[in-house]
Symmetry: C2
C-alpha cells in the first residue's frame, strides 16, 4: 500500500473493514464477469493499457512505471497488456509501442531503482481537440487497433493537460478510454497533490550537495574560496532552490543565501547579504534557481533559446552571480551547475519519494479498475509529526494548466531563506535512503529490452 | 589495517609473525622508557605532533585526519597531543593550534565519514629555506614552544614540497622534527603512490553522475536534449575526466566522449565524434576536464584569474563546449559543472578510498614512531584481480614537485576514451560504498569543537 509504515498501522484497521466490504462486492462482480466470459469469451478480452512518460524525467519516474506495470500484472484478467509509448506520447502517435509483457519481472522491479525514463520521454504537447483533431483521431486509431482502454500518462503540468484532453475523447469522439494522470515533476508545481514524486529526491540531492559543498568552502575560506554558488532547477517556482535551505539545520548551521524565482532579484541587497555572511561566518553558500529574474522579468540566465513548449531555455545564472561576487565584492568564489545531475541522482534518492512514486503508479491502475476517468492520484498529507500520508484522488479538470507556486510564508521576510513552515513541509519528503544495488562500485540500473508491438495502422507523420 | 578484506586474509599470517616480533621489541623499549621516566620525568615527556590539511579538500581527507589522531591516541606515552593547524600551515605560523585532545572519540571517529577539511585548509606555499627564512624560523619557534616533534602534513604536490622543506629543518636549522607527508588529492597526480586518497571518491562520483545523467539524456533525446556535458576537475591531468569513462561498462554501454587535458583540443574532430554518437545512439555524453586546452596552451575555460599558487583559476569549459554543439551541430544540449560537489560528495564515497585515506593517516604515525623523517606513506598495488594493496613508503625528495601524468596507454588512440588498462587501474578504486550515517534524511557530518591551544609565542604577521 501507499502509506508510510507508521501511518499504516493506525489507518489499517479501518481499511480492513472497508476492504472486506469491497471484497464481497468484488466477488459478486467477478462472479458476474465469469458468467459473461463463459457466454461470449472473445468479446470480453480485457482492455490493454497504454503507459507513457512525459517531459523532463526524474530519479523516480521509473518507480511509477514499476507501480503501473506491477499493479496491472497483478490485475490479470482485468487489464490485458501494458503497452508503453516509446518516447512518450509520440510512441502512441507513431504506433511505436513497447510490449512491457516481454520484460522480465526483475527488470520491472529494477525500474524502481533506476533513474530517467526507461521507455523514453518527450517534450510534445497536444493542442486542443479543435486545433489538432488529426492527432486525436490518430490516437483513437492506434488505441482501437491495439484494444487500448486505459491511458496512463506520467508527467507534469503539460502532460496533465494532454491527459485531460485524452480523457475527453470518450465524450467528444465516442471512443471509451479511461485516462489517468500519474503525477511526476521535480518542479513540484502540480496542484492538489501534497507534492510531486521526483521532487523529494531532487530536494534531497540539493540539500545534501549544498551541505557537502558548504563544508568544503568553509574549510577553504581562510585563504581561498569564500563563496560557493550552486545553480538548481526551477523555472517559475522555487521549490528546488528552497531545498538548499535544508542543508542548514540546528545541529549543523550553515550560512546560505537562496535566490528564488518568486523574489525579484535585487543585486544590492543580495551582495549585502553575502558580504554580511562572509564577515560573520567566514564563508557563504548561495543556492540560485535557474528561474531567478530581474524586476522586468528578464532571467539572469537568459540564453534566448526556447524549447518545444515555448519556454525559455535557461542556464548560467550561477556564472552571472559568480561574476557579481568577484567584481563587486572581490571575493573568490566557486560555482556549480547541477543540471541533470540533480534530477537523475537516483543514488541519493529519498525513500519517501520512491515509495510515493511507486504508490502513484499503483493507484492509477487501481483507479482505472474502479472505472475512474480523468483523474490523478495524489499524495494527501495527514500529519507532519509523525509524517503520515495517504493516496487521494484529484479531478484532472482541476489539475490541468494550474501551476502551484510556493506559499509566500515559505520564504523569510528578507527573501533569502526558508521558514519553519517550509521545513515542516519539506523535511518529511527527503527522509529515508533507498540505495540502488551496486556492482563493482557502480549502481546497477536496468534497461528494458523494449520489444516493439507489431504495427497495425498506416504510417503517421508527426 | 590498511589492506582490503580479501588481501588481508592472505597477508595476515605473515604479518602476525612480524607483529609478534615487533611487540617483543616494543615491550623492551617501553620497559626502558618507564625506567627513564622514573629517573627524570620532565625531560622525557613525549613530543607532541602537529597535523595540518593543505590545498583543495576532498571527501576523505578527514578520514586521514582520523587515522593520524586515532593512531597517535593509541600510541599513548610515545606521542603527546596532536595539535592541528587551524587552516593548515597558517595555523602553525600564527600559532593558531587546535587541541585535538579536546575532541571526543566519537567526533574523531565521525571525521572518517565527514567531507571537507575539518580543521580548515589553506592555499599557502612556503618558499625555499633561503627565500623565506623568516617563516621557517617561525615554525621552529612555534614547534619548540609546544614541544612538537612530529609534523604530519596532509596534502597534494605543493604540500609535499612544503613538507619536504620542513623535513630539512633538522639539518639546516638544528631543530629535530620528523616530517611525514600524508597523501591527498583528487587530482591523483602524486608520484610513486598507486593513487592519492580522495581520487577514488571523486572518480566514483563522476562515474556515477555520468551514468545517471546519461540515462537521463537518453530518455529525452528523441524530441529534446541530445547531448549532455559535464565539466570535471583536473587542471593538468585527466584522471578525473577519465573516471567518467567508467560510467560505460559492458553491461551498460553509454556513448561518452572524454576531453582530456593530455589531448590538445581539436574542435573539428570533437564535433565529428559527437555527431557520430548522436547519429548512432541518439544521444551522447561529454565529460570535459577543466584543464582542456587548445594546441597553443590556452584553456577553453580561461578566466584570467589566478590563485595563490599562481595557477589559472578555471571554470566554464562546459559552456564553451555547449555553445559549439549548439552553434555548429545545432543539437540541443544541457551542461553541468560539478565543481566542489564532486570532491565533497562523501555520500557517494568509495569504500576503498576511505579505507586508504584512513590507512595513510595511520601509517604516517607508525612511520614517525619508527623514527622516519621526510617520507610519505603510499598505496602499493599488489594485484588487480583480486585487488590487493599494502602500505608502502616513499622518500619525500622523490615526491616533491613531481606531477604524475596519466599513462598514454590509458587514452584510446582517437583521444576521446579510456582503454582497458585505464579501467583495470581505476575500477578497484571506486569499489565499495561507505554511506555516512543519516539523520532526518541528511548525512550527519561532524564538526570539531576546535579548542585553541593557549599561545606562548609573540604575534607573527603573515
Amino acid at each position: 500500500m501507499a502509506a508510510k509504515k507508521k501511518a499504516k498501522k493506525k489507518v489499517a484497521k479501518k481499511k480492513v473493514a472497508k476492504k472486506k466490504a469491497k471484497k464481497k462486492v468484488a466477488k459478486k462482480k467477478v462472479g458476474k464477469k465469469k458468467a459473461k466470459k463463459k457466454a461470449s469469451k472473445p468479446k470480453v478480452a480485457p482492455k490493454n493499457a497504454f503507459y507513457a512518460q512525459s517531459g523532463g524525467v526524474t530519479a523516480v519516474i521509473n518507480a511509477s512505471a514499476a507501480g503501473v506495470i506491477e499493479a496491472a500484472r497483478a490485475a490479470k484478467g482485468k487489464i490485458g497488456k501494458v503497452y508503453a509509448g516509446r518516447n512518450g506520447i509520440i510512441g502512441a502517435l507513431t504506433e511505436d509501442l513497447i510490449d512491457t509483457s516481454k520484460e522480465s519481472a526483475s527488470t520491472i522491479k529494477g525500474l524502481r531503482h533506476t533513474p530517467s525514463g526507461a521507455f523514453g520521454s518527450c517534450r510534445f504537447k497536444l493542442k486542443s481537440l479543435e486545433a489538432n483533431k488529426r492527432e486525436y483521431e490518430r490516437l483513437i486509431e492506434v488505441f482501437k487497433a491495439h484494444n487500448i482502454g486505459y491511458f496512463f500518462y506520467n508527467g507534469g503540468g503539460d502532460s496533465a493537460d494532454t491527459c485531460y484532453k485524452v480523457s475527453q475523447l470518450s465524450k467528444e469522439m465516442g471512443y471509451p478510454i479511461q485516462a489517468i494522470h500519474v503525477p511526476k515533476t521535480v518542479d513540484n508545481d502540480l496542484p492538489i497533490t501534497d507534492n510531486c514524486p521526483g521532487f523529494g529526491s531532487v530536494a534531497k540531492y540539493v540539500a545534501v550537495s549544498t551541505r557537502e559543498a558548504s563544508f568544503d568552502v568553509a574549510s577553504m575560506a581562510k585563504t581561498s574560496t569564500k563563496v560557493f554558488i550552486v545553480e538548481v532547477m526551477g523555472r517559475h517556482a522555487g521549490w528546488i532552490a528552497a531545498a538548499g535551505g535544508l542543508a542548514s539545520t540546528k545541529d549543523t548551521p550553515i550560512p546560505i543565501v537562496i535566490l528564488f524565482p518568486e523574489v525579484e532579484f535585487n543585486e544590492e541587497k543580495f551582495l549585502a547579504k553575502v558580504k554580511e555572511n562572509v564577515e560573520k561566518h567566514g564563508y557563504c553558500s548561495v543556492v540560485v534557481s535557474e528561474g531567478v529574474h530581474y524586476p522586468d522579468g528578464k532571467f539572469l540566465a537568459e540564453t534566448g533559446l526556447k524549447d518545444a513548449f515555448g519556454h525559455s531555455q535557461l542556464g548560467g545564472a550561477a556564472t552571472v552571480i559568480s561574476g557579481m561576487i568577484q567584481n563587486k565584492l572581490k571575493l573568490k568564489n566557486h560555482w556549480a551547475v547541477a543540471d541533470y545531475l540533480q534530477r537523475a541522482a537516483r543514488h541519493i534518492a529519498s525513500k519517501t519519494d520512491v515509495d510515493m512514486a511507486y504508490a502513484m503508479g499503483k493507484a492509477a491502475v487501481q483507479f482505472a479498475l474502479k472505472g475512474h476517468n480523468s483523474v490523478m492520484p495524489t499524495v494527501d498529507r495527514l500529519s507532519n509529526k509523525p509524517f503520515k500520508w495517504k493516496v487521494g484522488m484529484a479531478d484532472l479538470s482541476k489539475v490541468a494548466n494550474v501551476e502551484k507556486m510556493m506559499p509566500k510564508n515559505f520564504i523569510t521576510p528578507d527573501g533569502f531563506g526558508i521558514t519553519q513552515a517550509c521545513r515542516d513541509y519539506m523535511e518529511p519528503l527527503i527522509k529515508g535512503e533507498d540505495a540502488p544495488p551496486y556492482k563493482d562500485g557502480m549502481p546497477s540500473y536496468v534497461r528494458i529490452k523494449g520489444v516493439a508491438v507489431p504495427k497495425k495502422c498506416p504510417k503517421f507523420e508527426l
